[in-house]
Amino acid sequence: MLYFSIIILGAIASLAGPWWSLPLVACLICALKAQTPKQAFGVSSLAAVTLWTGYSLILVFSGKENLVDKIGTLFAGDSAVIAGIPSLGLILAIVILVAGLTTGFAGLAGKHLRMMFS
């Protein structure tokens, strides 16, 4: 339930607000609903990764245009090691890292704040 509410409310907030709307939503929901800090972190993180990678993949595969390869190559720069990773992989790795970490900690923060004040 927690998982789906973060995804749904997070998506709505992201359509209107800035990128950090998602961690903010996770923080609020976890403050209200999360059972344990561990759950707050894990579910928030997982929900964010699901939402961002899911929507990214929808855009990549439904879009008529490909920008992933160009951006991937740009980010790889002159590094041969990074250039060896498929662009989509590289980009999803960054997406997972950014969404997972920020939203995970934001969810945890929500639970912790609740515990602090209760």
């Binding site: 855009l59 879009g63 900690f105």
Partner: protein, 815 residues
């Protein structure tokens, strides 16, 4: 205790959000950029996606825009304000990032978006005084009611687009570089045009040639740097009468510069041999239809997004098709129902340097006309991306800006002498270049063409013209300074008023020709006229090869159609090889070593065509570059800021002066190198260099397109994945099909005039969209490389049915 136990996680969360919300060096903010709701992936959803009906505050009546399937908008407006508003809106929609970028370059503000790395480049552009001149031009434009209205309507259109943007919708370059667009203004349009003045007129050899003069004396300069080439086919055909009484130009007693004891130690880049253009028009006597055909291909730096944007602009009083510069209202090169026009650059000398005598180190006063005169001082402020602010003081004499006060290694303009004031046509602020183009858009005949040209100032262009009244003409046009012979060939004396520019050649006396007996007019940046022209324009113009080849082919042409002219635009024949090889090959044969035999055979069997796959062209082009160095580098080393003799003079020496002393390497005191030695040595060095860079000789490895390596790069060179490299085409810098590694025909157009309706063909190496993921980003490159042209859709009315229809968009007034 509880406090510490629970507060660390909110702090970590805030820190992470903060960290991913800001740029990390040159890496964009990862949070924003990779969020699928906001970042770059949103840029792939925009697919040239104007809906069929949109509402904008700014148009007074509905505007119909018809897109053809090359994504070219055909705009039909009920009045001019709406027309230029819509042009601004549509161009911004496809090219906003690019147009703003150009203005940041010419106003020296790149540091604000890319940071400190651009500082020296910015400082140089500020010191050229382009932004200051642009501001004065804007003030002058305000007096011209019509031009001012158009400039403002255009700006409002651009701003209407900008106001619809949020981070999600920003062009991806803004997202990567991490900044946002500013409001557009008429000043920005003028700054855009300033860029063209800089690209086409912003170069000089004065300093480097003065160093040669100081080292070798005037006799050598006269011998090696003559004022007119030995072989030429000038733009205005020899024998054309000059029906005017020339203005008097007073030559001072002392014309050479006052020498400093030592060579001037620091030295604007010499002209880029790849920057130039071709244009021509044939009269009805040479065409199949009996009416003129006009062709133009301006050679500029090749870039993505492209420098040009195709459009049709129609409103009561105007219906014109052609290419616009992103950021500038109207069509720059194009045609309408009755006429067609095109431009190539005039290579006349319009940038000079004056040695200034300052009273003291404060540089507050300078000596001129036997008195101390006050300088003007401006403080330039640079804002870096990281917030740092740096100031720079800029000094002006009445000539113009002193670009550099001191010789420093990191000065960006290497050919600009320190402590010298610059007199440059780009600072000319009267006249209205924009009005010229807007008038050409509406011109119906030869008289309209002449009238349009009369208010033009810079960069000087060869305006070619053809009309369906069977007139053809070409005019070398712009403000051309009145100069005594060789004025500004060297550095000038800033204390002597006689060394100042004496005014400008009256417009009516600029070189021009209408309906010449040879049945065509043409230009390829060569000398404007032969020495019988009563004014001195300069000593350095593009080598004659392209011009001569075009004129040879046009002379032979009969019953031509658009395809015949397209074929000439793609001509790959090397006149230069034809001139040099008969003198060079015998030397090679005399001394050949076995490893050279195959290359020599290829050169001998070569049809002198620089085709994409030619190996001989690779050898010849590499070799002539090497040969030039072998002959001249010892006496005229680039590192000492010396200019080496031009292509034509070098060719004359190779073909008819094999005993010239210049073949001897001056750096080897005890041996005397001969012509044969230099020819053979440079040939061997060229083969070695080709092998080193491209592997052993084979049709595959040494194909000309690989060696030439034409790249069409994004305006930010580091964005390699937004660029195209190694385009498979032929050509060369002295070839009519003038492609080099980084320059080439930036737009090719051929127009068959007609009494009823013209037929036109054209394309440019890029695409209409500036979005790197769009299918219209680079869709024309392959056709361009193959030398094909697209039929251009020129609609008669807004309701005409066209074959290549993509979609219609109606822009309605928003209440």
């Amino acid at each position: 205790m509880k406090f510490i136990k629970y507060l660390w996680s909110p702090l970590v969360a805030i820190a992470l959000i903060y960290f991913f919300n800001k740029p990390l060096g040159s890496i964009p903010p990862l949070g924003k950029f990779f969020s699928p709701f906001h970042g770059f992936l949103q840029n792939t959803t925009q697919e040239e996606d104007l809906s069929e009906e949109i509402f904008l505050r700014g148009v007074s009546e509905p505007v119909k825009v018809v897109y053809d399937n090359n994504y070219v908008p055909h705009v039909f407006a009920a009045n001019e304000d709406d027309l230029y508003f819509t042009q601004g809106y549509l161009v911004a929609k496809d090219r906003l990032w690019q147009m703003e970028f150009y203005t940041l370059v010419s106003s020296g503000r790149l540091t604000e978006v890319v940071g400190e790395t651009a500082f020296e480049f910015d400082r140089y552009n500020r010191r050229l005084g382009m932004a200051r001149a642009a501001e004065e031009i804007v003030e002058n434009q305000k007096k011209d009611e019509k031009a001012w209205r158009i400039l403002n309507a255009y700006s409002e259109g651009v701003n209407a687009y900008i106001s619809q943007l949020n981070y999600k919708k920003l062009p991806v370059e803004y997202k990567i570089l991490g900044y946002e667009p500013e409001e557009w203004t008429p000043l920005k349009t003028i700054l855009m045009l300033m860029n063209m003045r800089q690209t086409l007129n912003g170069h000089s050899n004065d300093f480097r040639l003065t160093n040669v003069l100081a080292r070798y004396g005037i006799d050598t300069v006269n011998d090696l740097f003559p004022d007119y080439p030995s072989v030429e086919s000038p733009i205005i055909p020899s024998g054309t009468p000059w029906n005017f009484k020339p203005e008097e130009v007073k030559t001072p007693e002392v014309t050479l510069p006052p020498f400093q004891k030592e060579l001037l130690s620091q030295y604007i880049s010499p002209p880029d041999p790849g920057i130039g253009s071709n244009n021509w028009a044939i009269s009805g006597s040479k065409s199949a239809t009996g009416l003129p055909i006009l062709a133009n291909d301006p050679h500029l730096g090749l870039s993505l997004p492209s420098i040009w944007y195709q459009m049709q602009l129609s409103a009561p009083g105007v219906n014109v098709y052609g290419v616009a510069l992103p950021g500038c209202p109207g069509i720059i090169i194009g045609f309408n129902k009755d006429i067609a026009w095109g431009v190539t650059n005039v290579g006349s000398d319009v940038m000079d340097f004056y040695q200034v005598k300052f009273k003291d180190n404060t540089r507050k006063e300078y000596w001129h006309d036997n008195q101390w005169k006050p300088t003007k001082t401006y403080i330039e402020e640079f804002r870096f991306k990281n917030g740092k602010v740096v100031q720079d003081t800029l000094i002006y004499t009445h000539h113009g800006p002193v670009v550099y006060n001191e010789s420093k290694k990191d000065n960006y303009g290497k050919n600009i002498p320190a402590g010298h004031a610059m007199k440059w046509i780009a600072h000319y602020t009267a006249g209205s270049d924009l009005t010229t183009f807007l008038a050409l858009n509406r011109a119906r005949n030869y008289d309209d063409y002449r009238k349009a040209l009369s208010v033009y100032s810079a960069p000087a262009q060869n305006f070619v013209f053809a009309s369906n009244e069977n007139d053809i003409a070409i005019t070398v046009n712009g403000k051309l300074p009145l100069k005594w012979k060789n004025q500004g060939k060297f550095i000038l004396d800033g204390t002597n008023p006689e060394h100042d520019w004496q005014g400008y050649i009256p417009f009516e006396q600029n070189p021009t020709v209408k309906n010449p007996s040879r049945g065509f007019v043409s230009s390829a940046n060569q000398f404007s006229a032969d020495p019988s022209y009563p004014y001195y324009l300069g000593w350095y113009f593009a080598p004659a090869y392209r011009g001569r080849r075009i004129n040879d082919r046009l002379t032979r042409l009969t019953h031509a159609n658009a395809d015949s002219l397209r074929d000439i635009q793609n001509d790959n024949y090397s006149l230069m090889a034809g001139r040099l090889l008969p003198s060079l090959i015998p030397v090679l044969e005399k001394h050949a070593t076995p490893d050279m035999l195959q290359s020599i055979r290829l050169l001998k069997e070569w049809n002198l065509e620089n085709t994409a796959t030619s190996v001989a062209a690779s050898i010849f082009e590499t070799w002539t570059g090497e040969l030039h160095k072998w002959i001249w580098d010892d006496e005229f080393p680039e590192e000492n800021n010396m200019m080496s003799p031009l292509n034509d003079r070098t060719a004359r020496m190779i073909t008819s002066e094999p005993d010239a002393k210049w073949f001897d390497n001056a750096l080897t005191a005890d041996t005397v190198e001969t012509f044969d030695y230099i020819v053979l040595g440079s040939f061997k060095a060229s083969l070695d260099s080709l092998t080193r860079r491209h592997g052993s000789m084979s049709e595959e490895n040494w194909a000309w397109y690989k060696v030439k390596n034409t790249g069409i790069n994004h305006l930010v060179p580091a964005f390699k994945s937004f660029s195209r490299s190694t385009v498979k085409n032929g050509g060369g810098s002295q070839i009519v099909n003038a492609t080099t590694s980084h320059t080439g025909p930036s737009w090719r157009m051929v127009v068959e005039l007609d009494k009823e309706w013209p037929r036109a063909y054209g394309l440019y190496p890029g695409g209409q969209s500036g979005r790197p993921s769009s299918k219209y980003y680079e869709n024309m490159i392959d056709d361009w490389a193959e030398g094909r042209l697209n039929p251009l859709v020129f609609m008669k009315t807004k309701d005409e049915k066209i074959n290549n229809h993509l979609k219609n968009v109606i822009i309605n007034p928003k209440k």
